[in-house]
Symmetry: C4
Subunit: 140 residues, 4 copies
């Protein structure tokens, strides 16, 4: 069986700007397993060959945006960014409505996940973020 096409060594997978709307880190959780602590994550895939510098900006209801939070995702690697852990330039407030825009120097894929363990059994959601793929072109 042959591959569906010549080896795809340098695919451009994703977009350079993404956004999510429903950011809200549950303010508490239950359970002893640390991976069951309430949290939100932005899961970043860089399937291309070059490092991607990723800037995350957070937007709120009643104050100016925070950030950028800077993450480098090496080529052909992933970074599942736990928003609870970000603290530069400032921590992400808990129990607070926010949204996020992700800007990358190379195409990435972004998926947004929340684990809410405030009650005895955790709840999960996840969605591919909204790709704002015409971003760069509009700026130039």
């Amino acid at each position: 069986m042959s591959a569906p096409d010549a080896p795809a060594r340098r695919p451009r997978v994703g977009a350079t700007c993404w956004a999510i709307g429903d950011g809200w880190i549950p303010p508490y959780g239950t359970g002893e397993d640390p991976t069951l602590a309430s949290h939100e994550s932005l899961c970043l895939l860089n399937a291309g060959p070059d490092d991607a510098r990723v800037e995350i900006r957070l937007y709120f209801a009643d104050r100016p945006p925070a950030g950028p939070y800077v993450v480098v995702v090496p080529g052909e690697r992933v970074r599942h960014v736990t928003l609870n852990d970000l603290d530069d330039p400032e921590p992400v407030p808990r129990g607070t409505d926010y949204s996020a825009v992700v800007l990358a120097s190379a195409p990435v894929v972004v998926q947004h996940t929340r684990l809410d363990s405030r009650q005895a059994a955790n709840a999960l959601f996840s969605t591919i973020a909204h790709p704002v793929d015409t971003f760069r072109e509009e700026l130039r």
Copy 2:
């Protein structure tokens, strides 16, 4: 480390019309924490510089649409709209199938979330809404 491009102060992030299909506010809930009450939300991000006037229209199985419900999202701010709280021009019925169309005067991002706490441990879902990005062009 330099930014991936010149500072992006005025990105156009999102679309001016969005839709969701599965609206249904659970008619009851459990738990003392008010943020654990059963609810649905439309989480709106306006990452642009100008205020966005947002109109939400609700569609039902057996009656004409309701609305518009009007929300203003200031530039660089978010509004996580809890559908349970809307009451102008009329409350959103509980335990009733509906869908929604969101029309905005500037690009926004819309994410649709449900928290269902009818049972002892809550359940969550969330999805980026469907961007109807050719809306304006078709109307002109």
Copy 3:
């Protein structure tokens, strides 16, 4: 405050072909509330003025497709189709992997939801389906 543009009475919201991949109706459930029975739904919004005839085709791992299941969604109305309830031309098997293609005679929006109440507290997922928006054009 004026509307963001002239009253949009006839927006074309959605697409005429949609698809979902992860169909699987949990074979049992718990709880006395019938809305908490395990189920899957395809939630259809027809925001346009004309009735939409919607055909749902189901695909399986080991047999030819089933359907079409036909649903009419009147203009400016919704139909949240519970897949458990479909029986013409045949019931949808429980505990069986399937996928679905939705073909509509007018633009609709499709959201796919599962409620799994096999355990003491239900679990939920929902996602906007995949819009196959170039479908009609390719066929002509």
Copy 4:
């Protein structure tokens, strides 16, 4: 009532490259029903007439990509691939951050689902994957 257009025997439904960001197989689970074991799946629909050879590549935080994992989805059939079960060329590690790129020789639809049964009541998420639909064209 007539069909909305001539019988659509050969629709092109989907894309030939898809990606997901938040791969993470929960390392344990509860419950006696094997379908309630913690797992992740990539649900593949091939609605076209021809077999699709599908290659899944997995990306990690700290090591080179794994794969391709090869799955053949016959025409008009589905394959709900449980990532826990993949073992050629190597098993998928549990409790480990990963992402995936799916490359197909014919258009498919991909939906990504996680069932997490580490606690007494399972949690679920599902999202349509990100369609990288310009992939082929860029390579040629």
